[in-house]
């Protein structure tokens, strides 16, 4: 590991000196430092900042402090009751040990697990801009089918972020240039020609909280994750959904997919297609297909198209059945 200086942050607006990065739980950052993929000059520890509260918002929303640990958010009674998709997504990710340390802000900012990115000795446009992307013709079974570019086909690995995208959550950011609010769906970039930038955050900007707005029908929401083993593995595809059915008709729906793109993929086109239509299996599949029409699979990941179509249909059917009971 490259040497670094260590200091603790005093206020969220402190910012960062050149070459510095924030340290929260560190479950991804410390690993990337061991691998030589992350080589910060300075670590600025934000764990002492008072950012771990989960607070009620007017009307039934929640403000989740960026420092709140994944395990505490997953276990929070309000999250489990009002936004079960978020608790389920968190519990589907990582292990008990990792969830006890990983933070809400850090979970959003974790890096891709693309094997070429994780290997400093390999070319990768994300860790070494301009060096090329071996994944496009190499091992890309787990990688993107939507929104990728010639220079990067990485996926965002978070489960939590998929639930937050479905719920229409926003991210509160603080920094030397002031505070701002960013929708979770606009936090992560598509890779384009600059895949080295995962998000729209500027150097020194710190996520201080995630706000989940009131969404009454989200008490009927769920997360389903497909992976290569029963537990403790990253997704090859996942679905976060909330469904509001009235008299057999879809009044409203929220749908997002994981492990298909450089960001958690809110399926806006599928949602638009479903609103006002019958809550039937055929309509659910047709809506998934509207969204998947934009997919550009690689040699070995076209299976994700059918996987997402079937998972989306099954998840929405289950939510619709729950509504009938």
């Amino acid at each position: 590991m490259k040497t670094f200086a260590y200091r603790t942050a005093v206020t969220p607006a402190d910012g960062l000196e050149p070459g510095a990065v924030f340290l929260a739980g560190g479950t991804n950052l410390v690993d990337l430092m061991k691998l030589g993929v992350a080589t910060p000059d300075v670590l600025v520890d934000v764990n002492k900042l008072p950012l771990d509260e989960i607070a009620d918002l007017p009307g039934g929303g929640l403000r989740i402090g960026a420092g709140a640990r994944n395990s505490d958010v997953a276990a929070d009674p309000r999250v489990r009751r009002d936004f079960p998709v978020l608790s389920e997504a968190l519990l589907a990710g990582a292990s008990g040990q990792l969830r006890n340390v990983a933070t809400t802000g850090g979970n959003l900012l974790q890096r891709t697990r693309c094997r070429y990115f994780m290997d400093a000795s390999k070319p990768c446009n994300k860790h070494t801009p301009g060096s090329g992307c071996p994944a496009r013709d190499g091992d890309h079974r787990d990688l993107a089918i939507l929104g990728a570019s010639a220079s990067c086909v990485a996926t965002h690995p978070s489960d939590m972020a998929v639930a937050l995208a479905a719920l229409g959550a926003t991210v509160r950011v603080d920094g030397p240039a002031g505070r701002r609010v960013i929708p979770v769906t606009g936090l992560h970039r598509l890779p384009g020609d600059t895949p080295e930038r995962d998000t729209v955050l500027e150097h020194g900007e710190l996520i201080t909280a995630v706000e989940v707005p009131p969404l009454p029908f989200a008490h009927r929401s769920t997360y389903r994750k497909a992976r290569d083993r029963a537990s403790y593995a990253f997704a090859v595809g996942s679905v976060a959904a909330a469904l509001d059915v009235h008299d057999g008709v879809v009044r409203d729906v929220r749908l997002a997919w994981g492990a298909v793109a450089h960001r958690p993929w809110r399926a806006f086109a599928a949602e638009e297609r479903l609103r006002g239509r019958p809550a039937t299996r055929a309509e659910f599949t047709a809506a998934a297909d509207v969204e998947l029409a934009a997919a550009e699979p690689l040699r070995d990941n076209a299976y994700k198209i059918n996987l997402l179509r079937r998972m989306t249909t099954a998840v929405l059917e289950r939510l619709a059945e729950g509504a009938r009971r």
Binding site: N47, A74, L91, A92, A94, S95, G96, Q97
Partner: protein, 156 residues
Amino acid sequence: MRLTVNGTEHVLDLDPRTTLLDALREHLGLTGAKKGCDHGQCGACTVLLDGRRVNSCLLLAIAHQDSHVTTIEGLDGHPVQRGFLEHDGFQCGYCTPGQICSAVGMLDEVDRGWPSAAADDDPLSDAEIRERMSGNLCRCGAYPHMVPAIRQAAGR
């Protein structure tokens, strides 16, 4: 820097790169926690940090000077240890300190009512214990004996 381990405060002169695992093993002589993968994937390094189970290989010691660390050496005759002995919950023993620390943390999580992805009605069913312990790997495959060992430790 300062580290409090199993109730004793130590003052150490360490490089900021030192992980909690390396501080325990290489500088305090506490070699119970093991370095399996060193990437947070196997759980062999599991210790309790302020009572919560964590992967000590992914924590920088310098960032945890105010915490209380409990290692396997600090769990003297814990019911989980007795359960592992009585149910033969190991073969080679390499993963065992991590398994036991993880089980101790896990049972506390169950007591606090924390859910798991298994979502069974009984938080100590076979499926629940396996899901909750999925962050600890065992190359010998001693899992079938660990499940009743952990359930026994919970008084069941």
